[in-house]
């Protein structure tokens, strides 16, 4: 396999999961990772999950980026959720104390109110995001896919040298 072939395999590998379920899972994972601050092990583990499961990685990346941009607006909510769970729920204190004393766990920053709050809010929103995204994917498939693929814009892109080069490269 040539280096270009390898590159194409790579691009294909991370963008091939395009069924409505895979797209929806990508969008839901994007929401989850977008709500969690990135400089900790929790965010890195979520990235690993995206790579491991059959989800649409480009969609997860785009949704994650968009949610990250608006996440400061949601921080008061995630902060309140995290603070409630970490500091104002005595029944959970033994669990947090145990986690706090476990190796590696401090790297996850679970004891940061926004990390925990973002993770919890992301998990709560996971199912609604998944079903909403799947519905949108199906509607797109049924009603807009043909219109979109037949549009002048897509045709122009397909006729471009970049697209031509991409498909030629795939033939090698």
């Amino acid at each position: 396999m040539t280096p270009l072939g390898l590159l194409r395999t790579l691009i294909k590998g991370i963008s091939e999961n395009t069924t409505p379920n895979e797209l929806a899972a990508g969008a839901a994972m994007g929401v989850l990772i977008g709500l969690v601050p990135k400089a900790n092990l929790t965010a890195q583990l979520l990235l690993v999950l995206i790579m491991v499961f059959r989800v649409n990685v480009p969609l997860a990346a785009v949704v994650g980026l968009l949610v990250s941009l608006v996440s400061p607006l949601v921080d008061p909510i995630t902060n309140a959720i995290g603070y409630k769970l970490l500091a104002q729920t005595p029944t959970l204190t033994p669990l947090w104390t145990k986690l706090y004393n476990m190796p590696v766990m401090p790297w996850t920053a679970f004891n940061n109110t926004i990390v925990l709050g973002g993770l919890i809010l992301g998990l709560i929103l996971f199912a609604p995001s998944f079903f909403l995204a799947r519905k949108l994917a199906r509607v797109y498939d049924e009603k807009y896919k043909d219109r979109f693929t037949g549009s002048k814009f897509v045709k122009a892109v397909k006729a471009s040298w970049l697209c031509d080069w991409y498909f030629k490269m795939g033939a090698n």
Binding site: K12, P103, V115
Partner: protein
């Protein structure tokens, strides 16, 4: 098998691994450089940073931190710092260095490039030291030439520019306003009218034929007369207390005159004979600069070693959100070096002295680590000895740091102090010793440095020309010629942001003695003449103030002069006794005096 799926993920993992493998060390190097530059305020160069994961270790090679005050000199540099890191605390997000070795540690070495950073704002401490060292700039010898002449006659003292004149005018205005306020207030109290009313009532009392009524009137009159007397006396006390502040005016103006004389003296660069002032002039700039540099580093380093316990706090603010802490079975500080061996070279003039030492308990969280940082460094080569002991105790809320350093037997290079245009002292040969003890408790500084030089030769050069300079030069040279041992003591006090220095030296005393012997009388005469000129300029304004005070006091106190009030009570009593009761009562009965 879906190769595209597997390969894509393997490639991403490989990219991340490569980024860590090749990117971690440069990233650490960059972080260390930036942190170092923020502490020193000058460039920090690092040759190489090498990390290993199995077993965890880190090596920093060829670090050179430039000096902020002298960008072409490295304040500190070392060849290599190797650290063996404990593995278990890394899982707890803590870097604990079990053992470290720092080799080739040197100070004040030359740089090939400038270590100046684009812009570093001066610290509060730096400004304070700058103020302090500039205080010695007033000292100069360039008026020697005019001391033996009649130049004092040509000096014009402009009254408007004098602080004492301004003060006299201010006091005059203040006093006048206060006295006028009293006058208005006293007019409102109507003491004269009330006294006249009492006199009128007394006349009616005299005319009264009914004895009983006369007694009743007398009692009421006595009561009112006493009230008026008390009111007048009380007010007089208040007025006197208020107006008596003028008694302190003379002293205030005298103080201001002294400051005026000193200011003119400074402006004219009249030579100072105070040994301390000479010591500050000679040693102040170097001492102030040196202390500013090292105390500045110390102050900045304290920010990275916060005092007190954070373990007791349940929550700490984070960049985003709040970090909630829980009880730890085993706590590690974020960073610590348990023990570090240090070797290096110290340049002490004629010889590079190899030294070695041990530093224990280096950490950014002393409260969690539970042990203060301790350093002990020793070196000896022949007569040359160095011993340094330092403790940085930030375990409790109040930091308690101390440094004790003894350096002896170091051969002194030829040194210069002062300015050749004014006064310069040169020293040659000899050996030096430094004995320093510093303690910082909280923000309070307490330090003493004693510098001793033995077997030295001293010469002095006084700038300017003329007979007086030659005369002073000869006298000072004679004073310094016999000196083979010199010492200086530097006291440091105050706080880190407002340090204060006190410098005294035997050279200052010897020099002062020389000047006094040569031109002491002339300088004293010059100073007295200046004082007389200032007094002459202020005298008119001071007299105006005194006259105004007298006038206002007379006016105000005159309003409190109520004639006849003192005798009124006696007259009433006499009248009651003689005219009324005495007649009504049988002989032999003693009538009590009415008093209210």
């Amino acid at each position: 098998m879906r190769w595209s799926y597997i390969i894509s993920r393997v490639v991403i993992v490989a990219v991340i691994w490569l980024a860590v493998f090749f990117g971690l060390d440069p990233l650490l190097k960059w972080g260390m450089r930036k942190t170092g530059e923020s502490i020193t305020g000058a460039k920090v160069d690092i040759g190489r940073v090498k990390t290993k994961f199995f077993p965890p270790s880190m090596t920093i090679e060829k670090l050179a931190a430039a000096s902020k005050s002298d960008p072409w000199t490295n304040m500190v540099e070392f060849n290599s710092l190797s650290m063996a890191i404990e593995g278990r605390p890394l899982f707890d997000k803590a870097v604990i260095v079990r053992e470290a070795s720092l080799s080739g540690l040197r100070f004040n070495t030359k740089r090939s490039t400038s270590g100046k950073l684009p812009f570093v704002p001066p610290s509060a401490m730096g400004k304070k030291f700058a103020e302090w060292t500039s205080s010695g700039k007033g000292f100069a010898m360039d008026r020697f030439s005019s001391i033996k002449t009649d130049a004092i006659k040509d000096i014009k003292v402009a009254p408007d520019s004098l602080e004492s004149v301004k003060l006299a005018n201010e006091l005059k205005a203040q006093y006048a306003a206060e006295a006028d306020a009293w006058k208005t207030r006293l007019e409102g109290m109507k003491f004269q009218e009330r006294a006249k009313g009492l006199e009128e009532r007394f006349r009616q009392l005299e005319k009264e034929s009914d004895t009983l009524k006369q007694i009743q009137m007398g009692q009421a009159l006595l009561k009112d007369a006493d009230t008026l007397k008390n009111d007048v006396a009380k007010t007089k006390d208040e007025v006197t207390a208020s107006l008596d502040k003028a008694k302190g005016y003379a002293a205030k103006i005298e103080e201001a005159k002294k400051r005026d004389t000193a200011a003119i003296k400074d402006k004219m660069h009249l030579p100072d004979m105070d040994p301390k002032a000479i010591s500050v002039y000679l040693l102040g700039p170097q001492t102030g600069g040196m202390l500013e540099k090292y105390l500045g580093y110390y102050e900045k380093s304290r920010k990275y070693i916060p005092a007190g316990s954070k373990a007791g706090k349940i929550e700490t603010p984070a960049r985003k959100g709040t970090v909630v802490h829980f009880p730890k079975e085993k706590s590690y500080p974020k960073f610590a070096i348990r023990k570090m061996a240090v070797t290096g070279v110290l340049d002490i003039g004629d010889k590079n002295l190899d030294y070695s030492g041990v530093i224990t308990g280096i950490t950014n969280q002393p409260a969690v680590y539970g042990q203060p940082m301790r350093a002990a460094v020793d070196a000896q080569w022949g007569e040359r000895k160095l011993n340094l002991q330092a403790v940085m105790d930030h375990v409790t809320e109040t930091p308690k740091d101390s440094l004790s350093a003894r350096l002896s037997g170091w051969a002194l290079a030829d040194m210069k102090a002062g300015d050749p245009a004014s006064l310069e002292v040169k020293s040659s040969g000899g050996t030096g010793a430094v004995d320093a003890d510093f303690a910082v408790t909280g923000d309070q500084l307490d330090g003493k440095i004693k510098l001793t030089a033995t077997g030295i030769g001293l010469t002095a050069a006084i700038g300017g020309g003329g007979d007086a300079v030659a005369f002073a030069q000869k006298a000072v040279s004679q004073s310094l010629a016999g000196i083979r041992t010199a010492d200086a003591s530097i006291g440091v006090s105050g706080t880190l942001s407002k340090p204060s220095l006190d410098i005294d030296s035997s050279i200052g005393s010897a020099f002062s003695k020389g000047i006094k012997a040569a031109l002491g009388q002339e300088i004293e005469n010059y100073r007295k003449a200046l004082e007389a000129k200032v007094s002459e300029a202020v005298a008119g304004y001071q007299n105006q103030l005194n006259d105004m005070v007298k006038q206002k006091q007379n006016e105000v106190l005159g309003q409190l002069n109520v004639p006849g009030l003192g005798n009124l009570s006696d007259q009433i009593n006499k009248k009651i006794q003689d005219g009324g009761l005495k007649k009504a009562l049988p002989q032999g009965i003693k009538i009590p005096q009415f008093k209210f």
